[in-house]
Symmetry: none
Subunit: 221 residues, 4 copies
DNA sequence: TATGAATGAGAATTCATTCAT
DNA sequence: AATGAATGAATTCTCATTCAT
């Protein structure tokens, strides 16, 4: 048993180290340009060995996606946990997402890649389904928070929690993509604090659903 | 004379038909997966012929991008022209962008791909520069409208036109990406009218910069 | 008739201009690297037109060889004519050959190319035979001169004219190739006057067959 | 240990067998006409395998050149070693060179090709430099022998060793080229013993520098 | 006759995957 | 389990030649 579990730990260890190498290479080269040779070299293993752990390049990529999503969702859970008010919880999730794109920049980029261009011919459909579910669950977590907020009178009673979440999500996502991808193109971006930008856009979007007291809503850059 | 122009027209015609085929294939397969063979077959031409019109696969791709951006920017100009009030102009641009993603869905998708990972090694740098400029100019057009709106007292005097535009743009872009790309993933999206969703998110974002009268702003889905 | 001959002259003219362009391009690029496109462009004609005058790239190449050999042999004839003594005639031929490699450097290079690498699959065998004959005739002309020299007692009576000519030819050819092709490799060549070198090697070779006043050093085959 | 060396030997073996196949194909077709497909087929390997051993067609060609030059220079060394007198040493080198062109005829032909038109764009410049050096070193070895001969009074004291060597070399090379390449063209060659021809031309050339017993025939540069 | 657009066979090279050791 | 040599299908691009105008 001890032996078995040590072996299993070693196996898991090796799996992780392959994933790490793959993430780096995918990030640096993009999915297509990355070759199994590069990943093998980076992970200090023989090419054949990769196929003992992942049955194809696509499979490796999906595993990596799952990994990234796991990290992200743990960050979400902590973010929601840590927030005391509804407002803070929502804000924390935005922060968490932004934080993920910064501290796990390679994971983020690699995950972004996926949306355009992976052909799922040889892809394990079960695994794909699992990833889809993970992607959804982030939104669902946020939705629960908002529903609580509605019932607490924090948002307009007529608010559709789903719509609110999707809009906040869309705005946040758009802001992050705009900041990270277009920074190179749009010089106007050069003097903007990205985190502020992302947080403010999320704030403005969620606040537009909030109940107005007598009014002193406004936002400063 | 007649002959020259007929020949030229035919050449242009063929160029267009290659671009059309290429757009389809790039859209279906992604840039990397799309092969010149596929494009040749789709356009009913021999492989070599493609190289008479475009000097490389990258070149073909860039030409296609330019084409798409041209269409988009014409739509923007008309949108701004057609709007009577500031509010309407901004709204029209959002509509135009959304419309573009729908009526030229393949162009849109292909343009989205670009951001992740085209190898600019063999790419004509002048052409690339031109594309960058086109991409920027859309934002700039909107910025002019907003600046006018600020000076007309339509938006808070303290508003930074650039920030407003970038936020509106980010939100709109995020909304469109979310709706088009994630529709397949998020079942919660199934009963949402996409155009409404996109317009509303843009509205909410811009309205958050507007001067509040005494207040009765709200939005229903 | 006038019309016919004008047309024929024009045709011949065009043929020549294609050959000229081809020589330049073959010289600059080598046979394989030279493309019919380049030759067409250089000769200011359409690609298709080349095929009205030469039935293939190989054919064009052979025509060019013939042209070069014609020039060379005219130079030989003049060289022999101009020489007053046997010695001078032989020397003049060497000079003429060297001169050809200098003033018609591109022809010379292009002719050298042929020896290595042309596949005669699609080549007109009659034309090839003609070229072979031309190549031989230079040697034959020289041989006649030497035979005269032997009968005049200029060379050892036992001399085999054929051997003398072949040896002189080999030495001259080797010297020219060494000087032109190896100059880039052998730095030791840098301070040698090529023409002197070539003439001297030919001299030494032929003189070794000459009758020695008081001596009798000789070589038997 | 045993395993490692066996594997290495096998690898070297395969490398050699590729080189062998390549030499044959290059010889038959010339560099440009030879395709990696042909070489793969000839060596009974898959095309991709070739690229495990040589990184490009050019690389393969250069490796082959180096191999051939190595053989040639070993033959030179032995030739010089084996000769007892100066005269014999020089003669042996000529013999060795001729021998090489006969026993390694394909190597010789392939090496001859090089001089006309290898594209050095993608070629490893270090390797190219090495080849240039090897090509030179043959001449240098001979030069040393001749210098010794001069100091021993074997050649005219005024003799420039460099000139003597270059002339002997040129004559020998010319003779070999004439005999091998033109044999097909010049029927007059048919009844000549090639080796005799080559040796004699070399003899005549070197002897023309030798001190004459009772005589004083000489040549001025 | 002259043109030049179109062709398509063929070239070098890459790389995911397999499999004997 | 781990290796890494071998594979060969697939990819981009070239270019001699043809042929409708």
């Amino acid at each position: 048993m001890g032996i078995t579990s040590r072996k299993e730990r070693e196996k898991e260890q090796r799996r992780k180290s392959i994933l790490k190498a793959a993430t780096e290479v995918f990030f640096e080269k993009g999915f297509q340009q990355a070759s199994m040779d590069m990943i093998a070299e980076r992970s200090q293993l023989a090419k054949g060995t990769l196929y003992l752990y992942f049955k194809s390049k696509e499979d490796l990529y999906l595993a990596l996606m799952e990994d990234g999503l796991d990290i992200l969702h743990n960050m979400f859970d902590e973010a929601i946990e840590a927030g005391e008010s509804i407002e803070e919880k929502v804000r924390n999730v935005t922060k968490a997402y932004y934080g993920f794109t910064q501290t796990h920049h390679d994971y983020y980029q690699v995950m972004m890649m996926m949306d355009s261009g992976l052909l799922s011919d040889k892809v394990d459909q079960n695994q794909l389904q699992h990833i889809r579910l993970l992607q959804m669950s982030g939104v669902e977590k946020l939705q629960k928070v908002v529903e609580e907020g509605i019932s607490q009178g924090h948002y307009e009673p007529s608010t559709d929690a789903k719509i609110l979440v999707l809009m906040a999500w869309a705005a946040t996502w758009g802001a992050i993509m705009l900041s990270t991808e277009k920074r190179k193109i749009l010089p106007m971006f050069s003097d903007i604090d990205t985190e502020q930008f992302v947080l403010e856009i999320s704030d403005r979007m969620t606040r537009s659903f909030q109940v107005k007291k007598s009014d002193k809503n406004d936002a400063s850059t």
